[in-house]
Amino acid sequence: MKSGSSRERLAERAAKELRDGFYVNLGIGIPTLVANYVPDGMNVILHSENGLLGIGPFPHDDEVDPDLINAGKQTITTVTGASYFDSAASFGMIRGGHIDLAILGALEVSQSGDIANWMVPGKMVKGMGGAMDLVAGAKRVVAVMTHTDKSGASKLLKECELPLTGKRCIDLVITEKAVFEVDKAANRLILIELMPEVTLEEIAASTAADYVVDLK
């Protein structure tokens, strides 16, 4: 997972959740890379919660503008048809269910779709930023994360142990080993894809959450 290629593979898989015409919010880190895998000919408009629809590529040196940044505070550009708005309006879009898809990182996801991604144990809490609004508001929320933590413990849990970012809000989890749908009603995950060369046994050994297998 630390290697660039593993991160890229996750981003590439996450990009398959995009649909033509979607308005999408991409979180910081791996989710940001998803923008590089939008299929040719597909129109996807990227939302930045600090007040922009229509994120473009990073600027050339001579295009850098301090008034134009994304939610990760990076300098950016815009695409044709972009619009700016204030933070209250921006989170109105999010909370009101107008964002078709949010993709974000996670520390833990539970089998009922709870997510924890803002308080790291033993570290100073930096704040939740816009994450709580995004998981509560976007029409569909996809978590992208490593399957296990550094000690090898599952990050897919029956119940999250860390303080939550949101309850029952994750629809899909993508890890370097597999892809799971969240069956909120049944309170379990559904294993729908294995990454190349990953076995069902490996998933069983590394997954604490309840899940059923329904490979597609």
Binding site: P66, S87, M132
Partner: protein, 231 residues
């Protein structure tokens, strides 16, 4: 109705800035922050301030300058990750901190400005943010009751303003400046360009003059970039 003042210092004095007040400060990261007003606020020496701002600046710029001088007693923010001094002051107990989800922070300011007594948001339900707050099921979905935020003084930054106090922001520098401009007893706006009334298209004013009490042209803008990212 000329609301322009000659300097940030004059604006702060007219607004009655003093120890213990609550300030709303616009900006996201270092983008769209009222640089000149923050510098002038440092000069006033006003302390025990409660500052509502999405972020806390960096160590040597923006609100970080007021952390250096220990003028801030409490921050209300959604994310303070860019500031090392912040962490020290917080851990030593010199600084209080209230985390508010970014969208809830923006909406609480908007509610404060729009006379809403409280609102139900799905954000934060089932999380530490909802602890001690009223929750409620509406149409099968769970919500948390959040209350409006109002400040004694709001410090906002726009790109262009006229002497009546009408404001136009530029790009993503709009952010919290717009809702915060509505939510204080006295709002001071600093701008890069101060123009005569009538220069701005009435259809294209982001913050109408009714919300702005004092307006000034900033003496100097550094507009520092936090993450200069190029291709």
């Amino acid at each position: 109705m000329d609301k322009s003042v000659a300097s940030a210092a004059e604006a702060l004095e007219k607004a009655g800035v003093k120890d213990g007040i609550t300030l709303l400060v616009g900006g996201f990261g270092l983008c769209g922050i009222p640089e000149n007003l923050i510098l002038a606020l440092r000069e006033t020496g006003a302390k025990d301030l409660t500052v509502v701002s999405n972020n806390a600046g960096v160590d040597d710029f923006g609100l970080g300058l007021l952390l250096q001088t220990r003028q801030i007693r409490k921050m209300v923010s959604s994310y303070v990750g860019e500031n090392k001094l912040f962490e020290q002051l917080y851990l030593s107990g010199e600084l209080e901190l209230e985390f508010v989800p970014q969208g809830t922070l923006a909406e609480r300011c908007r509610a404060g400005g729009a006379g809403i007594g409280g609102f139900y948001t799905p954000t934060g339900y089932g999380t530490p943010v909802a602890e001690g707050k009223e929750t409620r099921e509406i149409d099968g979905k769970m919500y948390v009751l959040e209350m409006p935020i109002r400040g004694d003084v709001a410090l906002v930054k726009a790109h262009t303003g006229d002497k009546h106090g009408n404001l136009v922001y530029r790009m993503t520098a709009r952010n919290f400046n717009q809702p915060m401009a509505t939510a204080a007893a006295v709002t001071i706006a600093e701008v890069e360009e101060l123009v005569e009334p009538g220069s701005l298209d009435p259809d294209q004013i982001h913050t109408p003059s009714i919300f702005v009490k004092h307006i000034l042209k900033g003496a100097h803008y550094e507009k520092r970039i936090e993450q200069r990212t190029t291709r």
